[in-house]
Amino acid sequence: METRYFGASVKRNEDQRLLTGQALFIDDIELPGMLHAAVLRSAVAHGRIVTVDVSAALKREGVVAAYTAQDLGDFWQPGPLLVPPPPIEGSVFNLRTHACLAKDKVRYAGEPLAIVIAADRYIAEDALADIVVDIEILPALVDLEAALAKGAALVHEDLGSNIAAHIHQGKGDYARAASRADHIIKRRFLYEHGISSPIETRGIVVQWDARGGQLTMWDTTQAPVFVRNGLAAVFGLSERQVRVIAPFVGGGFGPKIMMFYPEELLLPWAAMQLNRPIKWIEDRLEHFVATTHERGQVHDSKIALTKDGKILGVKDVFLHDSGAYDPYGLTVPINSQCTLLGPYVIPDYDSTFTCVFTNLPIVTPYRGAGRQHGVFVIERLLDIAAHELGIDPAEIRRRNLIPPDAFPYDNEIIYQDFAPLSYDSGDYEPVLDKALSAIGYAGFKDEQAAARAKGKHLGIAVAAYVEGTGIGPYEGARVQVQANGRVSVATGIGTQGQGHYTVFAQIVADQVGCDVRDVDVVTGDTDRFHWGAGTFASRGAVVAGNAVNEASKVVRQKILTLAAEHFECAEGDLELGQGQVSIVGVRGQAIRLSELAQKANPMRGAVKPGAEPGLESTQYFGPPSGATASGVHAMIVEVDPETFTLAIRKYVIVHDCGTVINPLILAGQIIGGAAQGIGNAFYEKLMYDDAGQLLNASLADYLLPTSLDVPRFVLDHTVTPSPLNPLGIKGAGEAGAIPAGPLFAQAIEDALGFKAKGIELLEIPLSPARLWELTQQAG
């Protein structure tokens, strides 16, 4: 009974609405008297604002209001810091956040200058063209090293430099490792992540009820409770006067956590001025410049090894592109710094990074959240080491894996959750073995030679990673048996397709003994559950899932207590199942959960002192630190040596995320992540010119992978439960996206014999065009 649903590939409760066009997404909300907003964005990446004149726009029929920074009065102020930097000794962090409309300067192309509110979206967009803008153009900072050069223009003049942050972390002593090493490799790596590009862009609908003093905002956010708290603070309201609802959200992948996006403040402010509901829906072209990115880092890295390929130490110095402002703190570069260590024993590690302000959109986490950058560095260093030391690439990884008896494994540096980077559990070698077996590693050399004889260029790759998941602080859940027998669950996180309505229902259904389809889950409505943090860092199932489990256990006990009273029997004689409680071995003796729920809420008579109504409980769960998942990807590609087009012939993923709640949903998360990894590695690149203009801001030019680019994946799992939570689960949302970069570089080098030609692929994204350039440069 306990494991009836948990661990099973239960079909999703949310599907019916989504498949029939009945799910409520942000742009489906229609309110009486609703107005529509459009935002004027700077066409210039860096410049002094001379004029933003909305007077002509205001004269257009159908325009209700148009606001610039000047119109905001005292409301105009730089926004809050969303994620404070971890407490790392000696760290420098220069906080510069954006206001909702630029006032004196624009710092990236796309920064909002004005907002128009009109009767419909068409008129609002017409009116944007009426606004007269005069900006004195300043040199744009696009390149990280150029931004740090002496005499460079300054994104924030008051700072005196473009340094956003400077952090050093390490363990052991790299100089000691270098002095003992047989072999040291030094390379420069460029890794650029792109945009998450969910198929639903961002959007907001806001309603201010002046009579009731209630602000309601529907928002495509991944963290509705944060937004609710933030809005209350900004508008001087109590938290219960603000309700934030994240309805069905059409994909997030990280950027929808950012707070505040300018529109999240402008819309409620304007709604209060006008006392009218307002809708704003980002269009796709805006999305490229108005939603946060995750872009590039430049790593100068060294690895010190013994001649048999054992890692002695790594030294890494890198630059990180923060964009024009840094409201999200240091999450992305800290993840890069920590995740570089991977599943390997690296006794001496010395890592320093400098975050750089540029005239480009703000950088915040996107699925993987900087982990890709670190994984690319260590995996490529190991590939190069394998080649130079004459060791097989899979074998050099095996020699360096953390052994299973070394857990918990303390990496001695601080992770993004402010806790020490300690891996809770893991067993890495079986993961590697399964991946090598599934890809056919042992027989590949023959396969490769046979293919080459037919003129086909095949290459193989294997890459490993770990992911710190399921971080705190906490989430909560309320579980209640309704009078009709259905069970309701409410939690504060948002949902963007992860299957929360199903996996949480599985946890509840097992505890209270009901059909999984009789559990109704609500996420992301701050009036239904008003505590929590949000959906990010692969934490929803881990943290909220365990809160749901705790609340369900209490409800189960309440059911047993009440049923025992009802039957005048011992609780031990009772069993829960099929939506009722029955006496073991006594046929016909059963009471429905619906009836018990009604008994738990008596309408007449006295109750015992201290009695609480209902079969309901609210519980919270906060892990001491994150749970560390791991995995190995292996791939065989065929590359055309003339056109550099690439076809993935086989792609294997072996993953360990602890105990699995729903294998089908997990497979969806892993495969979807891997598809995004493939996009990052070979298709997607934000092309900026020297003036900070994005040259490919459309889906026709920025290429998301299609069903012809993404292969059928072969999946396998190992299970090493996490000791950090009662369910033993680890997060899985981001894992699939993490190791594709080094996998592509390694496989393409192998396919085209690049090592023999002295060509090394030290950058991501790659593309046919980029491969051609690199081979031309190499002669």
């Binding site: 079909k11 999703r12 949310e14 599907d15 019916q16 989504l18 498949l19 029939t20 066009g21 009945q22 799910a23 997404f25 742009d27 489906d28 229609e30 257009r60 029929e61 979206r121 068409y122 998450s196 590009s197 969910p198 198929i199 639903e200 862009t201 069905f248 959200v249 059409g250 994909g251 997030g252 992948f253 269009d283 796709r284 072209l285 963007q496 397709g497 992860q498 299957g499 089908l664 949903i665 497979a667 969806g668 495969i671 979807g672 992540g673 891997a674 598809a675 995004q676 459309s698 889906l699 026709a700 998301l704 299609t706 069903s707 012809l708 993404v710 059928r712 994946f713 699939g736």
Partner: protein
């Protein structure tokens, strides 16, 4: 500025609608905001993502690349018309069983594209499914489970 409006008559999912619209109103906006059939989703408004795919006189078309006035006198089908009351179509049911959707935002367009594909390709292989699907972008699923769903639906529809 006065805006000229045009009377149009459009049949959607078998129901005739008589409305007046501006010449510039997109068909996608007309379906969503005038007829309140919000199951048709808008992802890019430049014809790439396929989320807004409908049937126009029985053939898949991107409603973001057409004006409402172009639909005057024509027959449109949207995702709301696929299920028979509460009974899902074979492809909808297969999408549910094979976990062919996550956030579900691209799903209506994929259902419209692939339902039409299945009607004319009863026994497709995986490559044919992938080619037919390649005009619809999905950012969540990595496509594999959608492909599984289409193949499963095809098998069931063959009986």
């Amino acid at each position: 500025m006065t805006t000229e409006r045009h009377a149009i008559s459009v049949t959607v999912n078998g129901v005739r609608h008589d409305k007046t619209v501006e010449a510039r109103m997109l068909l996608s906006d007309f379906i969503r905001h005038e007829l309140l059939l919000s199951g048709t989703h808008v992802g890019c408004e430049h014809g790439v993502c396929g989320a807004c795919t409908i049937w126009f006189d029985g053939f898949p078309a991107r409603s973001c690349l057409m004006f409402a006035v172009q639909a005057d006198g024509h027959d449109i089908a949207t995702v709301e018309g696929l299920a028979d009351n509460d009974k899902l179509s074979p492809l909808q049911q297969a999408m549910h069983e094979a976990h062919g959707l996550q956030c579900g935002y691209c799903t209506p367009g994929i259902l419209m594209t692939m339902s039409h594909f299945l009607a004319s390709n009863p026994a497709p292989d995986e490559q044919a499914v992938r080619e037919a699907l390649s005009g619809n972008l999905c950012r969540c699923t990595g496509y594999q489970h959608i492909v599984d769903a289409v193949l499963l639906a095809a098998e069931r529809m063959r009986g």
